[in-house]
């Protein structure tokens, strides 16, 4: 069959059509940039997971973005890695039969959460943080999704969020075929960011606006900007601040409102600067920096909105490209509260202060890993154990005092573990930590080989930078002063 006939047969949903060895099954949906079918793998090419094939939406009346969007997807999807995107198995070029065969992600669509909305704050935070993790993973690969909406998110059984449909995506290192193709149809009306409406692409903070619109919908049960279907209705969001969630549902906690409204700021520089920070705040409500956003019960008064409206019309502001995001750094400091007199403490504090001073915005996690007593040794878990934990928490708080951090910037964690290195690495990973500061092997660890120390374990396994601190004048391995 000629490629065009094949494509027509496929789009007509003819089961049993075979494209490059993949047999078409039932049609799963018709998405923004194409049709998705369940497919069977050719013999000998079974990857061991269920497969879906996506074909472009072509034909009379289909939008041009459909084909260009599919082309973008053919460029960008193969470059993506990690659990937050469907694994790509095969693709066909636009000169023959354009298609993408990928993992049919098993899980539940985020649409199911939206249907149950309004949801409790902790559930919004949980699924929101999973989604922010997925966006962070995408942004770290220099890709902006530009069409984040419930239909494009699937949550795996292990609670990992997966992003679908890269037809509107922007890759910083690839030519942007949509750069001059975009008219009105940028992203999806209820979730699209104001700068996307102005045709600006490639700013990762646009996805955070869409994330905020989804968090709003999950927490409130309504969309922040309704369902605009006119250009004027869409332009609203260039300046308008939506009705605060607490004005509609008073039981939304202030910290969640703060996060949502900060994501929905019309000006990218007032928004969160990275998805990692949104995830961090959603997981650490006590650390959310509460501003006037958290206290509002009504949208700003007529005068304030008028001022925003006027500023949004300023041609100079419209023409100017916003400065690139300056993501906040999350810094994790490992503190050995079991040895408060250790000579390394002042050095670690000094280096921590240096690390904090280099970024305007930051989050600091102080972590003390207390070795779990071996079985049959020491008291069992109980009052004494929680007392021991509290004792370490107090020491940790005192340790962090000289850093002079406001409470919303600092969190304290005492964790019990038999494997401190693995625990620190896992904590750093799940909190998108950028830098771990910890002490070099203690004198007590000297007889052990370097590779058995906590510092070496963390350095080897961490995905971020690690600063290993040594006290000045500490004797070296041969016992000679440094």
């Amino acid at each position: 069959m000629a490629s065009e006939e094949l494509l027509k047969a496929a789009v007509a949903g003819r089961q049993g059509t075979v494209i490059d060895g993949y047999a078409l099954g039932e049609r799963l949906n018709a998405g923004g940039t194409g049709y998705v079918y369940r497919v069977g793998a050719p013999p000998g090419r079974d990857p061991g997971f269920p497969l879906a094939m996506k074909l472009p939406a072509v034909g009379r009346g289909e939008p041009l973005e459909g084909i260009v969007g599919f082309e973008m997807e053919l460029m960008i999807h193969p470059a993506l890695t990690g659990p937050h995107v469907p694994r790509l198995v095969a693709s066909g070029s636009l000169r023959t039969v354009p298609y993408l065969v990928m993992e049919l992600v098993e899980g539940r669509g985020l649409v199911e959460w939206v249907e149950r909305a309004p949801l409790a704050a902790d559930e919004v935070a949980r699924v929101g943080a999973a989604l922010a993790d997925a966006l962070q993973a995408l942004h770290a690969q220099e890709v902006v999704h530009h069409d984040v909406k419930p239909e494009n998110v699937i949550v795996r059984p292990d609670a990992t969020a997966v992003l679908l449909d890269f037809g509107f995506a922007h890759h910083a290192r690839y030519p942007d075929l949509l750069a001059e193709e975009m008219r009105f149809a940028a992203g999806s009306a209820p979730y699209v960011s104001p700068e996307q409406l102005r045709g600006l692409r490639g700013d990762s903070r646009s996805d955070l606006f869409s994330l905020g619109a989804m968090l709003y919908e999950l927490a409130v049960g309504e969309r922040p900007f309704g369902e605009p279907n006119t250009a004027a209705g869409m332009r609203d969001r260039l300046w308008r601040i939506p009705t605060p969630p607490r004005g509609i549902r008073p039981d939304v906690p202030p910290w969640l409102q703060e996060i949502i409204l900060r994501c929905l700021e019309p000006d990218v520089q007032s928004r969160y600067q990275s998805a990692a920070l949104v995830a961090f705040d959603l997981r650490n409500p006590a650390q959310v920096d509460l501003t006037i956003r958290s206290r509002r019960l009504r949208a700003p008064g007529l005068l304030g909105q008028a001022r925003r409206w006027w500023r949004a019309r300023d041609p100079a502001r419209l023409a100017a490209l916003p400065p690139a995001p300056q993501p906040a750094r999350v810094i994790m400091i490992a503190v050995d509260t079991s040895h408060p007199d250790d000579t390394r403490h002042p050095s670690i504090q000094w280096h921590a202060r240096q690390a904090i001073s280099t970024t305007a915005e930051h989050r600091v996690m102080c972590v003390s890993v207390v070795r779990a007593p071996a079985l049959g040794e020491g008291p069992a878990l109980g009052d004494t154990e929680s007392g021991r934990q509290l004792d370490h928490l107090v020491r940790l708080g005192r340790w962090a005092e000289p850093l002079g951090l406001p409470p919303e910037r600092l969190s304290l964690h005492v964790v019990q573990s038999a494997d401190p290195a693995a625990t620190l690495v896992e904590l750093a990973r799940s909190n998108h930590v950028d830098l771990i500061v910890l002490g070099a092997p203690a004198p007590s660890e000297k007889p052990l080989a370097w590779w058995r120390s906590v510092a070496s374990g963390v350095t080897a396994a961490a995905r971020c930078s690690v600063l290993v601190v040594r006290a000045p004048g500490e004797p070296d391995a041969r016992g000679e002063p440094g």
Partner: protein
């Protein structure tokens, strides 16, 4: 066409070498390590630098093995008109003429202005009226070049900064500034125009030599920057008595 390892057809694009033998050799070695088995020299083999004879000898060897070599305005100035060049460029041409032997000068004079293949067109300045030496300085000029080529790919030099243009829709080209080392998909159902940047005299503040590799089977292009001893080259130019402004540019990559 000769095929490289894995049977892939990988072509190296080398433009604006400007008598810089060290930069050319560094790029050729990098390209061969990257699987290049075919080469296209996009004009301006000579001018500015201290090794015109060495560069032309390498070009003659490559041409014998099937390389595409097109004529640049500096190559043309050796035998003909050079009054439109700026003063230091003219001084460098005057310095170059007696350094070249007869065979080398005949080779330069024999170079075509453009080379056409089924999939690609090659020219120094633009495939659109190549003898005018117009710069491809934006989407409009790029589009004229792509139209004149009529092939999926057009490869040019003359402009020393790396650029990739594509046809976004009929009648419209869009410019893209590539990042060195990134494999960029260039599917051939679209039209593309690649300007690899200058091997011998980069002007974007990065002293590394610029060139690009095209993998026709994978439909990908990778722009590269290759470090070499550019300071040594500047010293050599100074010793040869070439204009101080050219030596200064070489040291700074401007």
């Amino acid at each position: 066409m000769p095929r490289g390892h894995n049977g892939r057809l990988v072509l190296a694009l080398l433009a604006d070498i400007h008598s810089n033998l060290e930069a050319l050799q560094a790029c050729l070695a990098h390209a061969r390590a990257g699987g290049a088995r075919r080469f296209a020299l996009l004009g301006d083999l000579v001018g500015y630098g201290a090794d015109p004879a060495g560069v032309v000898d390498v070009a003659m060897d490559l041409a014998r093995d099937g390389a595409v070599v097109v004529r640049g305005n500096h190559d043309e100035a050796i035998e003909g008109e050079s009054s439109y060049l700026n003063r230091s460029a003219m001084e460098a041409i005057a310095w170059t003429r007696p350094v070249l032997g007869d065979a080398q000068r005949r080779f330069l004079a024999s170079l075509p202005l453009e080379v056409r293949e089924p999939d690609a067109c090659f020219a120094h300045a633009s495939v659109h009226q190549p003898a005018r030496w117009d710069y491809i300085d934006g989407p409009a000029a790029a589009h004229r070049c792509m139209e004149a080529a009529g092939t999926p790919y057009a490869f040019c030099g003359h402009v020393h900064d790396p650029r990739l243009y594509f046809e976004s829709r009929p009648g419209r080209a869009v410019a893209f500034r590539p990042t060195a080392g990134t494999m960029i998909p260039v599917p051939r159902h679209r039209r593309w125009l690649a300007i690899p940047g200058s091997v011998g005299q980069p002007r974007d503040g990065d002293t590394r030599a610029a060139y690009a590799l095209v993998d026709f089977d994978a439909e990908r292009i990778t722009f590269h920057r290759v470090p070499y001893d550019h300071g040594g080259v500047a010293d050599k130019m100074e010793r040869a008595g070439l204009p101080a402004s050219l030596v200064y540019r070489m040291r700074r990559g401007i």
